[in-house]
């Protein structure tokens, strides 16, 4: 809101002050990956592309492109699972007659609110028993499942907003419930699917804990684990500028997605589970 009755510069000043650490961190993430800073100094003194050499030279940190590709597959598969299961589950929850429907809904909501990271020990044991420990498929399933209560709940919200009359009209027109869902309702919730998909992708792309713990030795390394491995700051010749370029490279896709879908995401973040 804006009226001319108040000046806004004092607010901007205070806001800038409290935002400064974040601003410096993100600015330096970008700047440092292209520059060198002499030891002990605060400001950089020369422009260089040397920190980006890891993109073409696999001897520096290993082949980053394979890892990127792995991450892409990981995040993408997870998005597909989350979207398809949430799209069907959310519809069933929102619109179809199910026994114990209230109970299901309450369960989903409890799981949505419930901090799922506490379950990791149990999940670890489940994977051990299922023989999926240390496999990519296991991690994807876990990640997707942990995102599901949120996804189903969000999709249910989007379905709830579609007028019942459209559904009724579809039935009158002779379509069965599945056709109605597929051809009439699903197109109405496309914004929801896009938002949830982007959200899940960002979430999956950044996931570290699950691959690290549930698939520690698999060949199929993802970027988060890769970045964590190359950036052990206790190692003798640690190089923050290198970590930053790798990090920036890692975050770039997410940043782009975030900027493109910002408005749609706001909605989702509000109901999001991340602390």
């Amino acid at each position: 809101m804006q009226t001319k009755n108040f000046a806004s510069w004092p607010i901007v000043l205070v806001l800038t002050a409290i935002s400064l650490p974040l601003a410096i961190m993100y600015a330096s993430l970008v700047i440092d990956s292209f520059t060198n800073t002499p030891a002990g100094a605060v400001l950089p003194n020369e422009f260089t592309l040397e920190h980006w050499a890891f993109l073409v030279d696999p001897t520096i940190t290993g082949n980053v492109w394979t890892v990127t590709f792995n991450t892409l597959i990981f995040a993408f598969t997870m998005v597909v699972v989350v979207l398809s299961v949430s799209a069907t589950g959310g519809y069933a929850m929102s619109r179809l007659n199910l026994p114990y429907r209230r109970f299901f809904l309450a369960g989903i909501l409890v799981m949505h609110a419930f901090p799922s990271v506490t379950l990791i020990i149990g999940v670890f044991l489940v994977l051990q028993f299922a023989g999926l420990y240390d496999t990519l498929i296991g991690v994807i399933l876990v990640k997707a499942a942990l995102t599901l209560p949120f996804g189903v709940w969000i999709m249910k919200g989007f379905y709830d907003a579609v007028p019942w009359e459209i559904e009724m009209a579809g039935l009158q027109d002779g379509a069965d419930r599945f056709t109605v869902w597929r051809r009439l309702i699903l197109p109405q919730v496309k914004p929801g699917l896009v938002a949830l998909g982007v959200f899940a992708f960002i979430d999956g792309w950044g996931e570290f804990l699950l691959p690290r713990i549930l698939a520690p030795t698999t060949e199929f390394q993802v970027l988060s684990v890769y970045l964590n491995n190359v950036s052990v700051p206790d190692s003798v010749d640690y190089d923050f500028n290198l970590f930053k370029s790798v990090g920036l490279f890692y975050t770039l896709p997410i940043l782009i997605l975030f900027i493109v879908f910002q408005n749609r995401l706001m909605n989702i973040f509000g109901g999001g589970t991340k602390g």
Binding site: T118, M168, K274
Partner: protein, 468 residues
């Protein structure tokens, strides 16, 4: 053509009231018109149901079950075997088990029968030699290994080299030591054979001690209840949650309100900046904080520049470590508050604010008397939601201070995770970790149910309008 619906004619304003028919009729009618269970619905729900069952419900159950076991990576997670190791015997002796019995268990005896001969043959011992053993020594009792070896030497075609001879003799040695018995009965038989007059109580004790798999126990909870470390963890966790929560709510509120008052573009810059921590992958986010606060990092260099003490702020001192832990988590959570509060702000009718400005309210008064009172529910919501996720979050702490320096910034969730899945010694204590996690699971469940009650879950449930 006036055709009054005479059967139902007349004014019956009480038509909406339950008719006074017998209840059974009513129930039958209700049954008849009950919405059909949708098979499609069951089908569409089942993938979600299966995944949630396997990865939510089963983990909760397993966490509960295994919190009552002493499972570690040494015991394995499936069943174990019964093994009498020399180590174990020594331990038993130390704990007071009769040493003669133990000595009996430790003895080796020589058995020459078809079976042991076959085993030796399979291991490649010379055929001639074996035939002689079979002819001369089959069924003979030997008091010791030495006696047997001497007897072997007396055989015509005995092996030249002493070493070979000893190796061949080994095939006829029987010992309970280091043998894996798959079942308790087998192990029990073996013990009874070696020490026939062992007391049953002692035997059970040895059997229990020799089991390598996990066993049921309440030891985990007893340990949690008695060790002084627990209180430290609880206090740390409480401190961490309370302060981070306060940071989240206050900064979130501050951001929402200030952004609300700013021109759109300027406001956007700040809200995007504060949203970044939420979308930045956690590993990178942690690295950025490390760079910021590590020695040689920004803060250290800057402190150096202005003459303040320069050290590793993340791990160098307890107050700075806590500050950083709280900031790291707080900056992620603040945007959650910011988004929710901004939504609530937008729903305040503009007229109220304009009216107050006309009335000459200062901006502070506007916030204090108009905006804040309407923020009560969103604040409560954020508080509930965040306290739950903070209580169980450990990823950021793990990647930054990792509980350090010492264990000063260790919280319950991280300790539970570390005990079970990520400690340095390599012996992962699943049982103990599960017990700690169970505490969090219970707290989380109770909180989320209270939370649902508070925000009136019932109103969110609408019945399907299509009954076929």
């Amino acid at each position: 053509m006036t055709d009054t619906a005479s059967s139902s004619g007349g004014i019956r304003p009480d038509a909406l009231v339950r008719p006074a028919d017998p209840a059974s009729d009513l129930e039958k009618a209700a049954l008849k018109g009950r919405p059909k269970v949708s098979l499609l619905g069951l089908g569409m729900l089942s993938p979600a149901a299966v995944l949630l069952l396997v990865f939510f419900f089963a983990p909760v159950v397993l966490t509960t079950i295994f919190s009552f076991t002493n499972m570690t990576s040494a015991t394995g997670i499936s069943g174990g075997a019964y093994v009498l190791s020399p180590n174990l015997l020594r331990e038993l002796e130390r704990s007071g088990v009769d040493s003669d019995t133990l000595a009996a268990l430790g003895t080796e005896s020589v058995v020459v029968d078809q079976e042991s001969i076959a085993a030796a043959r399979a291991a490649g011992v010379e055929e001639d030699f074996l035939e002689e053993i079979e002819d001369d020594l089959l069924g003979v009792d030997f008091d010791s290994k030495q006696d047997f070896e001497r007897a072997l030497k007396d055989l015509p075609s005995h092996l030249r080299r002493t070493r070979d001879l000893k190796l061949a003799a080994d095939h006829f040695l029987v010992s309970a030591l280091n043998t894996r018995f798959a079942t308790r009965a087998e192990a029990s038989d073996a013990i009874s054979a070696l020490a026939p007059d062992i007391a049953p109580g002692t035997r059970d004790r040895i059997l229990d001690a020799s089991y390598t798999g996990w066993v049921w126990t309440t030891e985990n909870f007893r340990r949690l209840a008695t060790q002084p470390e627990t209180l430290r963890l609880v206090l740390n966790t409480f401190f961490y949650v309370a302060v981070t929560l306060a940071f989240n709510v206050l900064v979130g509120l501050f951001l929402a309100i200030t952004v609300f008052y700013l021109p759109k573009g300027t406001g956007m810059v700040f809200s995007v900046l504060w949203l970044l921590p939420r979308i930045t992958p956690v590993v990178l986010y942690a690295i950025m904080w490390k760079w910021f606060t590590w020695d040689g990092g920004f803060v250290a260099s800057f402190a150096d520049l202005v003459g303040l003490p320069s050290f590793n702020y993340m791990k160098g001192s307890v107050p700075t470590a806590w500050t950083i832990v709280i900031l790291v988590n707080g900056c992620i959570g603040a945007s959650f508050g910011m988004i929710l509060f901004s939504g609530a702000l937008r729903s305040i009718p503009m007229q109220q604010l304009w009216a107050s400005e006309v009335d000459g309210a200062s901006r502070w008064q506007q916030v204090r008397y108009i905006i804040l009172p309407q923020m009560r529910w969103p604040i409560l919501f954020v508080t509930c939601y965040q306290s739950m996720s903070l209580l169980s979050s450990y990823e950021q702490i793990w990647l930054t201070t990792n509980g350090g320096p010492g264990n000063t910034t260790m919280v319950w969730a991280l300790e539970s995770f570390r005990t079970a899945l990520s400690n340095y010694t390599g012996n992962l204590q699943y049982g103990q970790g599960a017990a700690m996690a169970l505490v969090l699971v219970i707290v989380g469940l109770v909180l989320s149910i209270i939370f649902l009650r508070m925000f009136r879950f019932g109103e969110l449930v609408e019945k399907p309008k299509i009954e076929f």
